[in-house]
Amino acid sequence: MGGHSSYQPKSAFAKWFHERLPIMDLIQGQALDFPTPKNLNYFWTFGGILTMMLGAQLLTGIVLAMHYTPHVTMAFDSIEHIRRDVNYGNIIQKLHANGASMFFLAVYIHIFRGMYYGSYKAPREILWMIGVIILLVMMATAFMGYVLPWGQMSFWGAKVITNLFSAIPFFGDSIVTWLWGGFAVDNPTLNRFYSLHYLLPFVLAGLVGLHIWALHVPGNNNPTGVSVKSGQDTVPFHPYYTMKDAFAIGVFLIVYCLFVFFAPDYMGHPVNYEMADPLKTPAHIVPEWYFLPFYAILRSIDNKLLGVIAMFASILLLLVLPWLDTSRVRSGTYRPVFKQFFWILVLDCLLLGYIGSRVPDNLFWVDTPSHEGGFALTNKLVGQIATLYYFVHFLIILPILGLLETPKPMPASISEAVLAKNKPALPGHKAAVPAE
């Protein structure tokens, strides 16, 4: 690290401090002077947005923990106590609950941006893999957090997801009992989920530190995928990207606050406003929207163990993505065929999300029960096809495509790409002139 800093201690004290702890030098080099490609588009602001969201979730979460009671008979009422009696508790609780949704929205955009522009390719494999681990820890954190209000969906969601581990051969049931801390989802389960839900965000913060460290070794990828060649290609992170990120964060906060203040319950399930009742199963047990694609993969396979394996594989697969994509060209901009498959994958994931929210045996799209006899295009069947395609994309299409595809000609440098892009826009230059 380092090497980008122009830090010079100005006062005698600063010099004395710098010799003992060069933290100002680190900040100057990594956060202010850090050379960043000058052609990053707004999809690159989601890293900053995610850092802000992690901070927002930590802050609201710590305040909520001051008023929450992790006990099966009191948890639900303590959330109501927060909503009704704590100063601004109504808003803090909704900031935290909707914050999880916004966090996932941002992380999915961030991940798809990385996939489109090939940000996982050498020399950024470790950066990408840390990102996948961050996603997994985020999912665990969100799942356990959703259990804490101890509503109907909290309880039944916890039961369904922990029960998945019973599919493990031989040890399955013992593992589930161990996870529950007993023979049912009960007070010990709630307590350990609370403990872990408080711990994991700090693990996330540490992983984010590693993620940024791994980013700052090779520096940012960029929309052309062409590596930085000279100082001409970059600008200092501050003020250029601090201000661009700040603006993007502002836009993101407006969307976030519109939900929090004017549609606070839209992302949640009404049935979670009923206290958990182990004797009363809700009509439909559905996870939060951000888990729906994975839920669809899980349910598309009848064999429970295989379903669980497919669900975890769909995420773990991303760990080896840098080696599944055989193309040397990073950016999808210069890969005409890959680009199309990328958008098909996006649609496939959205379709899986839709399927995850539906009753499997209902007819696809019209969503009415299918009647016996003959072939029927059910939600489940569509989910199976979409699941299959998801794996085919990563395991077959990507490796083959890299070998067969002819990429478009690439610019020699970022500066050249920027010039070529801006030229036609200049007055008097109607035709696109290839840059020198």
Binding site: K38, E80, R83, F247, G250, C257, P264, P270, Y273, N422
Partner: protein, 272 residues
């Protein structure tokens, strides 16, 4: 209104979800208008007071509201009872307490006490209601959605208060093909979530509750009033939320605009 309905219909068609919920016989809630809808909607104090009276005289015979405390009734953004009125209201109920000898005795409730529950426990409630448990109403308008559909819920809200209104006014004669299989002691109500058969007999009848100011007391009017009261009870700080939200959004829009101008100024020097 017609445009709104047409738009709603179009959106529902697009969403493909339709209004076909769990049961084919179930109807989506009637989309009636409330004063507290939309980003600027506030509660009608008179309506909340009337709604409380309907709850107290009719619903409270079977339904608890465990989250509610008497002092809530004089909180800002609520029905707007005075402190003295709430004190007098609370005092009409008793609660068991301990005296200085440690012996139980009944005392009058005070504003910091909760609403009384009609039954001592769940089992007693079930026995008194033919096996069905009357749900707690503190959060009922949050715990029920009036309609389904990703876009319908985004634009028109979750429809909880409309659901309550629709169930209260939705009792019908069962269709002929169902009438013969009617479960004993149940009533036909196609708006009921777990329906169409509901254990609760039609709770309201015209003129059942008398309002001091002579407000209309038809079933329809009382159902609207009590639905509004329950909507307030599910989130007593709704008005505070919307008011603060308005300021927050204005602040963020101005801040973001300024950030955009600064960003643009800085970047004019760089070709990108």
């Amino acid at each position: 209104m017609i445009m709104r309905k047409t738009f709603l219909a179009a959106v529902l068609l697009l969403a493909g979800a339709g209004l076909a919920g769990a049961a084919e016989t179930r109807h989506a809630a009637k989309d009636i208008d409330f004063s507290f809808e939309g980003p600027f909607g506030t509660f009608d104090r008179g309506q909340l007071q009337r709604g409380y009276k309907v709850y107290k005289e009719v619903c409270a015979n079977c339904h608890s509201m465990k989250q509610m405390v008497f002092r809530n009734l004089s909180q800002p953004g609520g029905p707007g009872f005075s402190g003295a009125q709430v004190q007098a209201l609370a005092a009409t109920y008793t609660i068991q307490d301990l005296n200085d000898q440690g012996e139980p005795f009944d005392r009058e409730r005070i504003p910091s006490d909760h609403f009384p529950s009609p039954f001592p426990n769940e089992q007693a409630a079930r026995v008194a209601n033919g096996g069905a448990l009357p749900p707690d109403l503190s959060l009922i308008t949050k715990a029920r959605a009036g309609w389904t559909g990703t876009f319908a819920q985004l634009f028109y809200g979750m429809g909880g208060p409309e659901y309550v209104y629709s169930v209260l006014t939705g009792y019908e004669e069962p269709p002929a093909e169902l009438a013969s299989s009617a479960p004993e002691g149940k009533h036909y109500n196609p708006y009921f979530e777990a329906g169409p058969w509901i254990g609760m007999a039609p709770p309201l009848s015209d003129g059942q509750v008398t309002f001091d100011d002579g407000s209309p007391n038809s079933v329809d009017a009382m159902a609207r009033d009590v639905a509004a009261f329950l909507a307030w009870a599910s989130e007593p700080k709704m008005e505070e939320r919307k008011g603060l939200g308005f300021s927050v959004i204005i602040y963020l829009v101005i801040l973001t605009l300024l950030l955009y101008l600064v960003k643009r100024k800085i970047w004019t020097k760089v070709e990108h």
